[in-house]
């Protein structure tokens, strides 16, 4: 943890200018925007309703897909219009009242309204864009399920986009929570799409429950925000003077005057973010979520839902700034997750699983970026990662679709050379290059470089920086392991278990792969182009804001300017009103890498690392000849040089392959004891509590059993008791009489 240094010049008494523009607007009532913005939210709802109708009326065509694509494309166009018409001031658009409790002078207000600022627009652009593309992909991918399943898929898909829109565009924390849980529900429905498979049902349940643990933290954070600040609406919250006073205090590094209540808000919100974005220790649901169809994995578990945690922290960055420990924890957890997931990904054989772990790992990068006070880096990486990860998943999905569900990289080889698979091969290469972060030619490099550089710039986080660099090398390795095993080399394919009826000439020994159709290929090409074109985003407005993404982030609540930005970045910080806020890190001198300026140094280090990772993968997994970059030695699909090393490496490979037994540890520490406790409670309820009640009911019976002999039917018995009773009565009376007589 970095030491907190106070520097009187850094802004004591100075309002946080990064929120200055927000304050100006919110000091009056926030602007209301045009109502057509609501279309972005309404069109997916319409899609959901229409698809539900299609399902109810037994539609058996591709109409659900076309409806969905059309509506989502319209939503994307609406988002574009929103972007183009944005005038620089955040505004609110209300749909209807939701919670509006007033009592005395207090109020609990959370309406169904939407808050649009540049962060929102940034997120919605890629959410709606990717949703449209992936819907197009899914129209072909899911075509073997046409009928009720097809309608159900697209209904849940539309509902998901609606929930994501509410999450990102909501203007208060309850709207965010609604979207949060909504995406969780859709994730449950879509992971469990193949509901006849017990593994899919279990995976869906696991995802929902682990997410719910995060949701609990988020809910508590929301309540605490309301109790402490009196409001959960963004416009009011970011203009709240108490919050500003806290930020000013935090800017000087002085956290002692910020009440613990306020600091806990960030910690609780953080738990929610960890749950949704699959960070350690709540990441275990994401790899299992691969049970869902591939479009679901691509959209939800790579590009949109899992970035919700990043969005959460970015949106509430002011609240995170005032908490002393929250951002450092975020940074470290992100780093640990990145490393952990990379190590597991290296040892998996299922290509979708590898991609899932790589998602977890890259999300770790994004969280680390947030913790390192680089919201721009995080947002940029979210954007580039969304494109190339979706691309990678969709390409793997194409492979799965064409090879009857085969995903094991030991059983596939040379796919790129098979007829009709060329586009998949090329786009896969583009995606892998981006994920590995090959220098200068991929957008993934730019975003990752921003994060890595930030790690060295911000003092106290060098360790994180080196871990992330190491993880980058691992990333390059495992990514290209997949590429070199599956896509190049001698052609070989074993079919998977899902024999579907596409292959008319399918015999058990002659298996013909099913090449992807135009929908899949189109989407892959678009995504590959988008990945490459997003390199340009790094150069737009590079001087003022570190890129286009930076310009979007700068005018939102996520903006934060590191004091080292001026020093470390190539360009100058020209705008006079961008006073840096020191935040929890203090104002020590910015770090350097090998004596060089951090950015330049990082380009060198990470670039070389990526190339090194690719070469290692080529050596161990690449085929002979130019396809393996002339250093590979693989001649068949199942065996490679790595096997020998793995055999001699001891327990490590097996541990990594078994995910370090984290799931089993959780089961042993949490699930099994909880189940035992539940059984114990059940028995307590049955035996103890119910037993007490039954005992209480049993008492009259016991009493009766004692008394019953007196009703013997023997006349004389009754007479005896009468006589005896009379005698006792007489005795008592006499005693009383004697006593009172004596006393008197």
């Amino acid at each position: 943890m970095p030491a907190v240094l106070s520097d009187s010049s850094a802004g004591h008494g100075e309002a946080s200018q990064s929120l200055a523009h927000l304050v100006e607007h919110a000091a009056q009532h926030p602007n209301t925007g045009p109502k057509w913005v609501l279309l972005i939210v309404l069109l997916p709802v319409l899609g959901f309703v229409l698809n539900a109708f299609y399902a109810a009326f037994g539609n058996k065509s591709k109409i659900p897909a076309w409806t969905t694509i059309a509506l989502l494309a319209a939503a994307f166009i609406a988002t574009l219009s929103m972007f183009l018409s944005y005038e620089g001031t955040p505004y609110t658009v209300q749909a209807f009242e939701w919670f509006n409790l007033h009592y005395g002078d207090k109020s609990f207000v959370a309406n169904f309204s939407f808050y649009i600022d540049k962060l929102t627009i940034l997120w919605m652009l890629f959410v709606t864009g990717l949703a449209t593309l992936i819907a197009l992909y899914a129209s072909e991918y899911m075509s073997h399920d046409i009928g009720a399943g097809y309608c159900r898929f697209f209904a849940a898909f539309c509902l998901f986009v609606f929930s994501m829109a509410c999450l990102v565009m909501g203007d208060n924390m309850l709207m965010l929570y609604l979207g949060w849980e909504g995406v969780g529900l859709c994730s449950y429905l879509l992971i469990g799409y193949f509901y006849k498979k017990p593994s899919a049902v279990a995976a869906a349940k696991k995802a929902f429950i682990v997410n719910r643990i995060g949701d609990l933290g988020l809910a508590l954070g929301v309540y605490l925000t309301f109790v402490h600040f009196g409001t959960i609406q963004y416009a009011e919250l970011f203009a709240n003077e108490t919050l500003h006073s806290y930020i000013n205090a935090a800017a000087t590094g002085d956290f002692s005057h910020i009440p613990a209540q306020a600091q806990w808000i960030a910690l609780l919100l953080m738990v929610g973010a960890f749950g949704k974005s699959a960070q350690f220790p709540l990441y275990v649901w994401l790899p299992d979520a691969m049970e869902g169809p591939t479009p679901v994995s691509a959209l939800i578990h790579a590009a949109t839902m899992v970035t919700a945690g990043v969005y959460l922290i970015a949106r509430f960055y002011p609240i995170f700034l005032v908490s002393e420990h929250a951002l450092p924890i975020v940074a470290w957890i992100g780093t640990i997750t990145a490393l952990l997931a990379a190590t597991i990904g290296m040892a998996q054989f299922d290509i979708k699983r590898i991609m899932a772990y790589s998602t977890v790992s890259q999300l770790g990068y994004m969280f680390a970026a947030l913790g390192l006070l680089s919201t721009t880096g995080a947002a940029f990486h979210v954007l580039t990662h969304a494109f190339f990860k979706a691309l990678l998943f969709l390409a793997c999905g194409a492979v799965m679709h064409g090879f009857a569900g085969q995903l094991d990289l030991r059983k596939l080889s040379g796919v790129a050379w098979m007829k009709g698979w060329g586009i998949v091969g090329v786009t896969m290469l583009v995606g892998c290059m981006n994920l590995a972060g090959l220098p200068y030619i991929t957008s993934g490099f730019y975003s990752k470089d921003m994060i890595l550089a930030e790690a060295f710039i911000t003092p106290g986080y060098r360790m994180i920086g080196w871990i992330l660099v190491f993880t980058a090398i691992l990333t390059a390795y495992y990514t290209f392991r997949v590429y070199f095993r599956v896509f190049v080399g001698p052609e070989h394919a074993e079919p998977g278990d899902e024999h579907d009826d596409h292959d008319d000439d399918h015999h058990s020994d002659h298996f013909h792969p099913h090449a992807p159709g135009w929908a899949i290929n189109t989407v892959l090409v678009i995504l590959a182009c988008a990945s490459m074109l997003s390199i340009s985003l790094a150069y737009i407005q590079k001087a003022e804001h570190h890129g286009w993404v930076g310009s979007m982030v700068a005018e939102s609540s996520a903006s934060y300017h590191s004091p080292y930005a001026a020093e470390a970045h190539h360009a100058h910080v020209e705008h006079a009103d961008m006073h840096p806020v020191a935040g929890p890190v203090g104002t020590a001198a910015p770090g350097k890498v090998f004596g060089m300026d951090a950015h330049a140094g990082m380009i060198l280090v990470s670039g070389l690392g990526a190339i090194f990772g690719v070469l290692v993968a080529a050596y161990f997994h690449g085929p002979k000849g130019w396809q393996g970059l002339f250093i590979g030695g693989r001649t068949e699909s199942g065996k490679c040089r790595m096997d020998a090393i793995a055999r001699r490496a001891g327990p490590l490979p097996r541990l990594a392959e078994n995910k370090w037994y984290v799931d089993e540890i959780y089961a042993a520490i949490l699930v099994t004891p909880l189940r035992i406790i539940s059984h114990v409670f059940h028995w307590i309820d049955k035996l103890l509590l119910d037993g007490l009640v039954n005992l209480f009911g049993f008492l009259p019976r016991v009493f009766a059993w004692i008394i019953r002999p007196s009703q013997s039917g023997v006349l004389q018995g009754y007479a005896v008791s009468m006589a005896g009773g009379l005698a006792v009565l007489l005795f008592v009376v006499l005693v009383i009489v004697m006593n009172s007589g004596g006393a008197a």
Partner: protein
């Protein structure tokens, strides 16, 4: 006697008359049609009453009417309703036709008896909520026990005898003690230094009851809670519920979960709190602890059940823990959330019990190990099942969410140290954040057991018992009649999830008045504006350059 009063009386008397008519008919298999027509027709006066109710005066008792019985003892028959009673009456009336329609194929013998008692139950439920004096309240309160007893005893499942007896005796014992407590209050108010003459009018009693000493109030509270806590049910007085629910026929379970459990919480809101405010304030944390134990304990038990009906029964215990937590918080958020919970729980859990009933009619087993994966065979049923499960789990957008949120926030708010930035003048009883944290784990547990249930019964490979054969009358999936019974509940779930203000605005005035009553009885004052006080503290530490703008909340205009 105004027209609306006549309608209110009709809501109570017409079902009784119809019940007698059904009971005295010659054919033991009639009763469905009269019951159906009556229950549907009763919706008309109910809607008329909503239309004519003046919601801006939600706290005043409207459409009041009273006849004296024994003047010197203050015994009267008096009815009337404020908005809280109105909403609960509506819930009872809404469930009427739903329950009758759901029983059409489930009950095959002795229909006459069944529908007659169902009509009596309907009348009694309306009577409880409409009662404005203790006598009528208590009579109707007990009168709900008798039909339920018969329904379980005669039309229930294998273990029905034990279930009906335990249900009746347990709740009856509790209510006897409640009666004792109430009689004490009546006697107290009749003392010459209080009111001076006998009355059982609830409003009058409320005025004088807070004059009781702390000791008296404690005993009275214990007595009243004895009855209401059993009814709610509050841990550890809940053991009758799983048995009663599992053995009852579908309609019985729906009404039991939908309305009869709310008699307990309504009783706490209407009687226990206003008539013993100081004692309730004193013991609110203990009551809240019991409710939280109930939430977690019952939730975990749900998780390991094999009988699906018992699972949902324990889930009722868990959910109503939230309800009581809201009541124990003694602030506006808590009461609003609690009453909202009463209404929404009726819809969602009623829906769940209907689903289970429909499944049971076709498969004759409730064992989740014997029957499962029904989504392949009954997709419409499965869709509704997932829907109601999501409403039950508290998914935002459906009606479980607003109520749960408000109940949880209320516990947070009701700690003076937390919610008023350390200023004196509590904003509720003294619960606090830890109560919310533990109650919040109930959210996670709810997800666990509900998804466990849905995962077993809806999803997975299809499992049917070996001797299963298709039903004679019912189709494989839901019939139109069954869908009609579910639709109002589903619409209600969505409507009140997205527009809780409809209900919250209606109940805001009575809730406010109750809170004021509690505060006055305990000598508290409302806390000063929290935001201002916190700013004052903050100003000591920084020179905020922004002029302290009084941030009035958005939409401050009262709708």
């Amino acid at each position: 006697m105004s027209q609306q009063t006549v309608l209110l009386l009709a809501l109570m008397i017409v079902p009784l008359l119809v019940a007698m008519r059904i009971a005295f008919s010659k054919n033991p298999d009639t009763g469905y049609r009269p019951a159906l027509i009556t229950s549907w027709l009763l919706m008309i006066p109910a809607w008329k009453l909503i239309a004519d109710f003046d919601f801006s005066q939600g706290a005043t008792t409207q459409f009041a009417y009273s006849i004296s019985w024994v003047e010197s003892l203050g015994l009267k028959f008096s009815i009337g309703m404020d908005s809280v009673s109105l909403l609960l009456i509506l819930l009872s009336v809404l469930l009427g036709p739903i329950v009758v329609m759901a029983s059409k194929t489930a009950i095959v013998k002795d229909k006459r008896m069944y529908y007659a008692w169902l009509m009596v139950l309907q009348a009694a439920m309306v009577g409880v909520f409409a009662a404005q004096d203790l006598l009528l309240f208590y009579i109707c309160f007990e009168f709900t026990l008798l039909p339920m007893f018969v329904l379980i005893r005669k039309f229930g499942s294998t273990n029905r005898v034990a279930a009906s007896v335990k249900f009746f005796l347990y709740t009856f014992t509790g209510s006897m003690m409640t009666l004792a407590g109430m009689v004490y209050i009546v006697w107290f108010v009749a003392q010459p230094d209080q009111l001076g003459h006998w009355t059982l009018d609830i409003a009058t009693l409320t005025q004088y009851a807070s004059n009781m000493s702390m000791g008296e109030q404690t005993w009275v509270l214990l007595a009243m809670l004895a009855g209401f806590a059993v009814k709610v049910p509050l841990f550890p007085f809940h053991t009758w519920l799983p048995l009663a629910h599992t053995e009852a026929p579908t309609a019985g379970s729906v009404i039991l979960a939908g309305v009869l459990l709310k008699l307990g919480t309504y009783g706490i809101y209407r009687f226990a709190i206003p008539l013993a405010p100081t004692a309730f304030f004193e013991y609110a944390p203990e009551i809240a602890v019991l409710s939280i134990i109930g939430i977690i304990y019952a939730g975990l038990i749900c998780w390991v059940q094999t009988d699906i009906k018992k699972l949902v029964a324990y889930s009722s215990v868990s959910h109503l823990g939230f309800c009581v937590l809201g009541l124990a918080a003694l602030n506006v958020t808590g009461f609003s959330g609690s009453i909202l919970y009463m209404l929404s729980h009726g819809l969602s859990t009623g829906g769940l019990f209907l689903m289970i009933g429909f499944m049971y009619e076709r498969y004759h087993t409730r064992d989740m190990n014997a029957v499962g994966g029904l989504a392949s065979k009954m997709p419409v049923w499965a869709t509704f099942m997932v829907f109601f499960a999501m409403a039950s789990v508290g998914l935002p957008g459906l009606n479980g969410f607003p109520s749960e949120v408000l109940c949880l926030i209320s516990a947070f708010q009701s700690d003076a140290a937390w919610s008023a930035a350390g200023e004196p003048g509590a904003w509720g009883s003294s619960l606090g954040p830890w109560f919310t944290v533990f109650a919040g784990t109930g959210m996670v547990i709810a997800a666990m057991y509900l998804l466990f249930m849905v995962g077993k019964i809806c999803f997975g490979p299809l499992r049917e018992p070996e001797d299963h054969h298709p039903h004679d009358v019912l189709p494989t999936d839901l019939s139109l009649r069954e869908i009609i019974t579910l639709t109002p509940l589903a619409i209600g779930c969505v409507l009140f999830g997205l527009q809780p203000t409809l209900l919250l605005d209606a109940i805001s005035e009575p809730v406010n008045n109750t809170v004021v009553l509690v505060e006055q009885a305990n000598g508290l004052e409302s806390a000063p504006s929290r935001i201002d006080s916190v700013i004052e503290h903050a100003d000591e530490h920084s020179e905020a350059e922004i002029t302290p703008d009084h941030h009035t909340p958005e939409g401050a205009s009262h709708e």
